[in-house]
Symmetry: C2
Subunit: 145 residues, 2 copies
C-alpha cells in the first residue's frame, strides 16, 4: 500500500465517521422508547428554534433530501404535530410550525438527546469543547467549498 494509503488507525475522516456513528446510535437508543427517529426529532427541533421553515429548508437542516422531508412532514401533519397552511402566501413555499402537541412531544425528546450530548463530552474541559466545536466548523467550511 505504501504511504499513499489511508490508515484507519490514524485517519481523521474515519474518526469523524466513528464519532458520528456513535452519536447516531446513542440518539436512536434514547429516541426509540419515545417512538421517534433522528430525522423525526431533528425536524421538530428545527421547527422549534426556527418557526416557519419550509420543507426544503428543513431538509437541509436535517441533512436529508427534500423528498424525504416531504414524506416525513406528511406524517407529522397527520399526527397533528406540525401545521402548514393550505396555500402559499408567496411563491410555493409552505412555512411549517409546531402545534402544541408537537411542542410537548419535542420536550421529551430534547431532554433525552441533551443527556446524550452531555455524556459525549464527559470529562472534557470547556476549552476542549470549544476547540472541538471550532475544529469541526473548520472542517465543515472546508468541505463546503
Amino acid at each position: 500500500m505504501g504511504q499513499d494509503a489511508i490508515d484507519l488507525e490514524t485517519s481523521l475522516g474515519y474518526a469523524l465517521k466513528e464519532a458520528s456513528s456513535g452519536l447516531r446510535t446513542a440518539m436512536e437508543e434514547v429516541l426509540r422508547p419515545l417512538g421517534m427517529t433522528i430525522t423525526h426529532y431533528s425536524c421538530l427541533e428545527l421547527l422549534s428554534q426556527r418557526p416557519g421553515l419550509s420543507s426544503s429548508e428543513l431538509a437541509r437542516g436535517a441533512f436529508v433530501t427534500r423528498q424525504s422531508m416531504h414524506v416525513l412532514l406528511q406524517h407529522l401533519e397527520r399526527e397533528g404535530h406540525v401545521a402548514r397552511p393550505d396555500e402559499a402566501r408567496v411563491g410555493k413555499v409552505l412555512p411549517a410550525r409546531l402545534t402544541a402537541r408537537g411542542h410537548a412531544r419535542l420536550a421529551q425528546a430534547t431532554a433525552a438527546v441533551r443527556g446524550v450530548e452531555v455524556r459525549m463530552t464527559a470529562g472534557m474541559t470547556d476549552a476542549e469543547r470549544a476547540d472541538a466545536f471550532r475544529l469541526l466548523r473548520t472542517m465543515v467550511r472546508n468541505l463546503q467549498q
Copy 2:
C-alpha cells in the same frame, strides 16, 4: 424553551453531524464517477488493511449491520473483487480477501478519498489535526459506554 434547549448554533452534536454529513457528501461525489458507494469503498479499504476479516467484522468497521454487509459481499464476490472460501476452517467464520481486481479497484477510490480528506483539513496545523483526532476519539469512547 429556556436554557434546557439545544441551541443548534452552538451544539457540538449538531456540528459533528454537519461535518460528518459534509464528509459523506464529498465522498459520494468523488466515488460516484467510479461507480462506488461509501459502504462499498469502506469494505474494500478494510479488507486491504486487514485481510481475512469476516463479514461481521467488516460490518462493524463500516458501521452497518452484518446483514447489509452480507448482501454487499455477495455483490463484490460476484464481481470478482473479493474472494471467500467455500467452507469455514474453524467455526462459521468466512475470512474475506481482496482479489487482484479488487486491489486495482480500490486504488482509484483511495486516491479520490484521500483528496477529500486533504481538502477537509486544509489550513489546519498538524497540532490542530492531532487535537481534532484526539477529541473525536474521546467522544467515541464516551459514547461507547
